[in-house]
Amino acid sequence: MFAKVLIANRGEIAVRVIRACREAGVRAVAVYSDVDRRALHVQLADEAVHIGPAVASESYLNGRRIIEAAKQTGAEAIHPGYGFLSENADFAELVESSGLTWIGPPPVAIRAMGSKTEARRLMKDAGVPVVPGTEGGIDDPADAPALADEIGYPVLIKAAMGGGGKGMRVVRDQKQLAAAVEAAKRESLNAFGSEIVYLEKFIERPRHIEFQVFADDHGNTVHLGERECSIQRRHQKVVEECPSAIVTPEMRAQMGESAVRAAEAVGYRNAGTVEFLVDQDRSHYFLEMNTRLQVEHPVTEMVTGVDLVELQLHVASGGAIPFRQDELAMRGHAIEVRIYSEDSLNGFVPDTGTLRYLRPPYGYGIREDSGVQQGDAITIHYDPMISKLIAWAPDRETAIRRMDRALSEYRVTGVRTTIPFGRFVMNNGAFQRGDFDTSFVEREFDLGLLEESEQAWRRIAALAAAWRRHTETSESRRSDEHPLVESVAGSGSWKATGRRQALR
């Protein structure tokens, strides 16, 4: 095992990795930008190094500076977390050529999975099912109609280097095809610097189910079961669970085998996630591989009992995976809800502000992975995810009720959060039945229900505001100090009231 590891990240994932390091007897080195000096990850680490200004390109994305920090502190390895430099093959190479250990897959595997067309070709050769589509990019838009006819409409145009829904277009008949290909090329060039697009069969209303895989240097590759990630908004996951309500043991064995084959095909090491689309007939298709630890890894940990970050450290330092595939046991059910600083009532627009009050829920079966504290600012510089709330229970129904209970206890003021949305999902019939797909938010999310609940709170807010003014004015009436304060009640008298209360 390593003696010291540097964590090239911030927020909840940095905290998660620091905790695992300290439990394993490894000294943890945090890095931080100008605005993160007081952040939780800096406070919990054994050592911390300043790496630059708030803007990520000059701090958390500054690979050279991060390697310098590792050298300076004598760290032997770098854990990238997720996001930032975690899937940057050049950085992984730089880490290794600097004589440090990269806690992640070999750079060549990151690169292979980074190109969607390349990954598709590799997967096809390895016998992993892929969505029917073109072999490589479309060179000449004039070829598109014949290719689309062969695949069968509807087809999906995708950017080879893309992600996050950009450069993607659904085409339902030939008339729209040429224009859509041109538009997708332009969008892809702007967003990813590459105009290579390809065609795929468009899977109607798929579920998004992914498999956690792990590989070591001793020839072992295993999977740790699936995660159901179909509840998404803006192509980003918000609620995840393990196991999936629709995956049977036979399906798990089949999909798990595909996932292991996918990892082996690229010479994978350490933790990775193979994402599949599952269609209405329950057939699965390789979507992509995320060559890092996932945000939603805790649901797998709660159900399998495997500490994935500890296992990452163990495997990266040369250890073998301590269990065989047939020893993997899944117990109970876990759900994760991501708490974002976003306005659920207003198209999930990111919100910024100071966390004036923060009281996460606790209690039996609840885990909270958070990177913030009361008083912290949520800024435009970084991801608006505040924390992840995870509920475990012996069965899915109880896990849903437990999550709803926990969300109802969660108190955040200062920014708007996705907590009301999380409660909506837990109370939704289709979610409770396990009958949903990636179109859940557009099909089921009823803004009216949230607005109704907002309306009920509006009266309470009115009562509270009137009470505040009433107590301010009656206190000032009693006070000789501010006899005229009634006419200017507001911030001035607020401070006066605060002072008087402090003096009592």
Partner: protein, 176 residues
């Protein structure tokens, strides 16, 4: 509400809805037609209060707003901006509103944090309702911010290239 002192009665305006709140001599509170028991203690976090409203427990954050008698309340995860008027002030308010004084509906604020990309008008320009005044980038998308009313652009509170926080004033349009 005839037995309450008029000093203990307030009109609260929130999101275009008005309700009346009266504090009764026996310590209870009347919201419109409903009488409720009320017990409030301050939390250890300033500005946060534990309310028992007819024994129902609610944690509420109350902070002063930008102008006198305006408050921001967080209740149940929702944010509200409220204007609390005493009985006397509400008469005055109605009178001024009827006389057309004090209208400020032409001030547009940023609904999300972002970056001002382009300003499309100059102060003094006439604009139609719905006409674009500036382009703001937020969430990696460009959004045209339009004038809510027809009128004359009174002033622009931002410059091109400026980053704005949520709630920051962008521009003001005066009814012509």
């Amino acid at each position: 509400m005839t037995d309450t002192n008029q000093k203990d009665r307030y009109r609260v305006e929130v999101d275009g809805v008005t309700c009346t709140v009266a504090f009764l001599p026996d310590g209870r509170v009347q919201v419109d037609d409903t009488v409720l028991s009320l017990d409030v203690v301050e939390d250890t976090t300033p500005g946060h209060f534990s309310f028992l409203i007819d024994r129902e427990s609610r944690l509420l954050a109350i902070e002063p707003g930008d102008e006198p008698n305006r408050y921001r309340v967080n209740a149940g995860g929702y944010d509200f901006e409220l204007h609390v008027l005493s009985e006397r002030e509400s008469f005055l308010h109605d009178y001024l509103r009827a006389a057309g004084v004090g209208k400020k509906e032409g001030r547009v604020k940023a609904t999300m944090p972002g970056l001002i990309r382009k300003i499309l008008v100059k102060p003094g320009d006439s604009v139609e309702a719905g006409q674009g005044v500036l382009i703001m980038e937020a969430m990696k998308m460009e959004n045209e911010i339009r004038s809510p009313i027809p009128g004359r652009v009174l002033n622009l509170e931002v410059d091109e290239g400026e980053a704005v926080e949520k709630g920051a004033g962008l521009f003001e349009v005066e009814t012509s």
